[in-house]
């Protein structure tokens, strides 16, 4: 709230010359500067209109700022309005602001006129002259405001130095004749450090200090001294005091000096009191008798004292005595004044209509007594005993300190100390387990058994469930659930099984022997023994290989034929005898030539027939096998060679052998 009436934030008001310089340089900086006679006339007009309008905007902004920032006398607190009237003269102030605002309007109309004229400018020169004229007229208007601007700058500087008085807060207002000790009182209570001198009108303006009382912030205002003469004759300094007295809702401390050291008689001081009394109306007032180290109320002659007392009684003014020199009664004065003000403010609040809004919301609930039965707190006898024991103190023979006769109870820290202290003793949490049997407390609880979590099996009714399972088991046994119903094998079947096992073993043997050979192209490995078509020979099983080999060795066992037959239904002999396969060689050759597509590029350049082709394919595959196994790049993979090999292009010079690296 106090910052609301802080006039320190008003910006500096430049003088008329400065203002012009600021704005002209701004126009130069912020509008385009390059223009040629050859440009289109509309562009030239636009260029100069922009300059004029920009100048208008700048002036408007600046002047608006000035008029907007200064406080409006009708809107601020009457105290400040009156104070400003006293200090700066209300009429002068309003006139200055009014002139500024009028200048703004004049500039606006100038700008409006000249932009209209520029619209009809027929050359760059004419447009430029119009612009110069417009700016010139604006400058003239501003120059005429020189005095207003200077005045406003002075007002601004003075306003910024005004004490920031909050008109609405708790305030003590010190007033009285010059030299009665108002500023000394201020210095006693606050840290305002007001100048105190032994001559009249040391204090020429209002001063503010702050203090604390009852945890509240208080504002103490020191005013210049007032002389006893009519209001019209008062000077500016006195008028400030009067303004403060008139407008601030404060506790007024009227200081009088009974010792008359200030140079004014008691009568004069009392007259002043009577003169300015109307200003105290409705405010708590304290008559402070200062300098009681010199003269007290009690030291006065009876008639004067009675006169004063009668006056006080009539106006309901409290009397307080103090001495800033000996500090006697200073705090008492402060307390009296503050309490009076608090009471007055509370009273005012209670009388306002707003208090009802708050009171409606307040309700203090009071519980109703159920009956008259007394229900004191129950403290167990043991607890009381323990308290009594703890109170009995004895002197410790070692340290000489008073210690309780006996510890009220054994604490966990006592146990710790007994068992080796911190870091050694380990709290046994198992002691606090709540189990059915205390013997079980220290048991090591098993967690795992046979790859199972024991916790998963823990179930209070496991015994019953296990019994049910056993019952079910018995029933199943009785039902023959576990009987093996697999039919027994006959001796012949057993024989077959044994023999089949032998055959399987032999087959496995043959397979193992075969697979242990070094890997070679299969076609190469077993060649071709028979004229059977590809279809049959492709079925490369271990058994036919075995059969062929045995046959080649002359072991014409009956088994060989059987083995063959087992491979292909009907056997290979049957296939060989099949007329479909028995073709004449010439016929076969003819067929192959027909088959060989002359456009097939894979066959081009190869002898007719498949032999050379097959050979070629076989060799290709053989060469690719290694790289393929390692997943390497092969000939046939698509590959883009480096188009610009770095080693051939880097580090070249114009001469010398650096052409090649």
């Amino acid at each position: 709230m106090s910052s609301y009436y802080n006039f320190k934030k008003i910006q500096v008001i430049p003088g008329s010359e400065d203002l012009l310089n600021i704005i002209l340089s701004k126009i130069q900086r912020k509008t385009p500067t390059v223009i040629h006679p050859g440009y289109k006339i509309s562009r030239i007009r636009e260029f100069y209109m922009r300059k004029i309008k920009f100048a208008q905007d700048c002036f408007d902004e600046k002047l608006d700022h000035i008029t907007g920032e200064f406080p409006k006398l009708d809107e601020i607190h009457p105290f400040y309005a009156d104070l400003m009237n006293v200090l700066y003269d209300r009429d002068h102030y309003k006139l200055a602001l009014g002139q500024i605002s009028k200048a703004k309007h004049l500039i606006d109309s100038v700008a409006k006129d000249y932009t209209r004229l520029v619209k009809f400018g027929d050359s760059l020169y004419r447009c430029k002259q119009l612009k110069v004229a417009a700016l010139g007229r604006m400058a003239t208007i501003i120059k005429r405001q020189k005095d207003s601007l200077t005045y406003l700058e002075q007002v601004r500087q003075h306003l910024a130095r005004l004490p920031s008085i909050d008109p609405n807060t708790r305030t003590l207002l010190v007033c009285g004749y010059p030299n009665v000790g108002k500023s000394s009182f201020m210095n006693k209570l606050t840290r305002a450090d007001v100048d105190v001198q032994p001559y009249a009108f040391t204090t020429k303006s209002l001063f503010v200090g702050h203090m604390d009382y009852k945890y509240l912030r208080w504002q103490l205002i020191d005013t210049p001294g007032i002389l006893d003469h009519p209001l019209e004759d008062r000077n500016t300094i006195e008028m400030q005091s009067v303004t403060a007295l008139a407008h601030l809702r404060a506790c007024v401390l009227f200081f009088i000096d009974l010792s008359e050291e200030c140079g004014f008689s008691i009568d004069a001081q009392l007259n002043l009191y009577n003169t300015i009394k109307p200003l105290f109306a409705g405010k708590p007032t304290v008559m402070v008798v200062n300098k009681i180290d010199k003269k007290r109320m009690e030291d006065l002659d009876a008639p004067t004292r009675e006169r004063i007392e009668a006056m006080l009684a009539r106006d309901g003014v409290t009397l307080a005595q103090q001495s800033c020199y000996t500090d006697e009664g200073v705090i008492a004065v402060r307390d009296t004044a503050c309490d009076l003000l608090i009471a007055a403010r509370a009273d005012m609040k209670l009388r306002s209509h707003r208090v009802q809004d708050v009171l409606n919301k307040l309700h203090v609930a009071q519980p109703q007594a159920r009956d008259d039965v007394a229900r004191p707190a129950f403290v167990p006898e043991a607890a009381l005993e323990r308290q009594r024991a703890a109170k009995e103190m004895v002197r410790d023979p070692d340290t000489g300190e008073l210690v309780p006769l006996k510890r009220s109870m054994t604490l966990a820290r006592d146990v710790e100390a007994e068992h080796g202290g911190a870091g050694v003793y380990n709290v046994n949490l198992k002691d606090r387990y709540l189990l059915a049997n205390d013997d079980w407390k220290q048991d090591i609880i098993p967690e795992l058994m046979d790859g199972k979590n024991i916790a998963d099996f823990i179930d209070p009714d496991i015994a019953e469930r296990l019994a049910a399972l056993e019952e079910e088991e018995e029933r199943l046994i009785a039902e023959g659930f576990y009987d093996d119903n697999t039919p027994d094998l006959t001796p012949a079947e057993l024989e077959t099984r044994a023999r089949a096992k032998i055959i399987r073993d032999k087959k496995a043997l043959a397979r193992a022997a075969h697979s242990s050979l070094a890997t070679m192209p299969r076609m190469e490995l077993h060649g071709r023994l028979d004229p059977r078509p590809e279809r049959i020979t492709r079925r490369l099983n271990t058994l036919p290989i075995l059969a062929r080999r045995l046959a080649a060795k002359g072991k014409d066992l009956p088994a060989t034929a059987q083995l063959m037959r087992s491979v292909s239904q009907g056997g290979w002999r049957a296939a060989a005898e099949d007329p479909a396969y028995a073709r004449k060689p010439s016929e076969v050759m003819k067929m192959r030539r027909l088959e060989g597509d002359q456009k097939n590029r894979q066959l081009m350049g190869l002898a007719p027939g498949k032999a050379q082709y097959n050979q070629a394919i076989k060799e290709v595959r053989f060469t690719q096998r290694g790289p393929n196994l390692m997943a390497k790049r092969g000939e046939s993979d698509r590959h883009i060679m480096t188009k610009m090999p770095k080693h051939l292009f880097s580090g070249k010079r114009t001469i010398g052998k650096t052409d090649r690296r």
Partner: protein, 162 residues
């Protein structure tokens, strides 16, 4: 301390083994070994991977419905330690394990019952087809399979004889 089940293969995860993955919705996945973790990261469904317990259960290869399986459960009801109850439980666990093993063997036998006839037929066929293979000595078979291949001339001869 607890034995956890692997999320992927449902085997035991012993304390200090395997790894745990906590997803950002705070669901916990435990893995018994890197194999399971890797399969999880490949987004494989344990029900479709043949070596997992989940597959065996869904494919009917493991016993899933039985009263012995009702004993092991996470009950989530805290029970105060009781020495007698613990003793009963340990005994029960051993007994349950026994019964379960027996039932599993029956389950397996039943699952394999239809194999007998098939096996018998296969044996018969093998014996009928290759009765002589049984008579060829093992050394001879091995030697024959290790022999180098017949040469081109022999091949020609063989063709002619054929």
């Amino acid at each position: 301390m607890r034995l956890e089940k692997c999320f992927f293969c449902s085997s035991n995860v012993y304390p200090g083994h395997g790894m745990m993955f906590v997803r950002n919705d705070s669901k916990i996945f435990r893995f018994c070994r890197s194999k399971c973790h890797r399969n999880f990261k490949l987004k494989r469904n344990p029900r479709k991977v043949r070596w997992t317990k989940a597959f065996r259960r869904t494919a009917g290869k493991d016993m899933t419905i039985d009263s012995t399986l009702e004993f092991e459960k996470r009950r989530n009801i805290p029970v105060r330690y009781d020495r007698d109850l613990m003793a009963t439980t340990l005994k029960a666990m051993k007994r349950i394990k026994e019964i379960k093993a027996r039932r599993e063997s029956v389950f397996y036998r039943q699952r394999m019952a239809h194999k007998h006839a098939q096996e018998k037929a296969e044996n018969q066929k093998l014996v009928d087809d290759m009765v002589d293979l049984a008579d060829i000595p093992a050394e001879e078979i091995q030697q024959a399979m290790r022999l180098p291949e017949v040469s081109g001339g022999q091949r020609q001869n063989a063709m002619e004889t054929a």
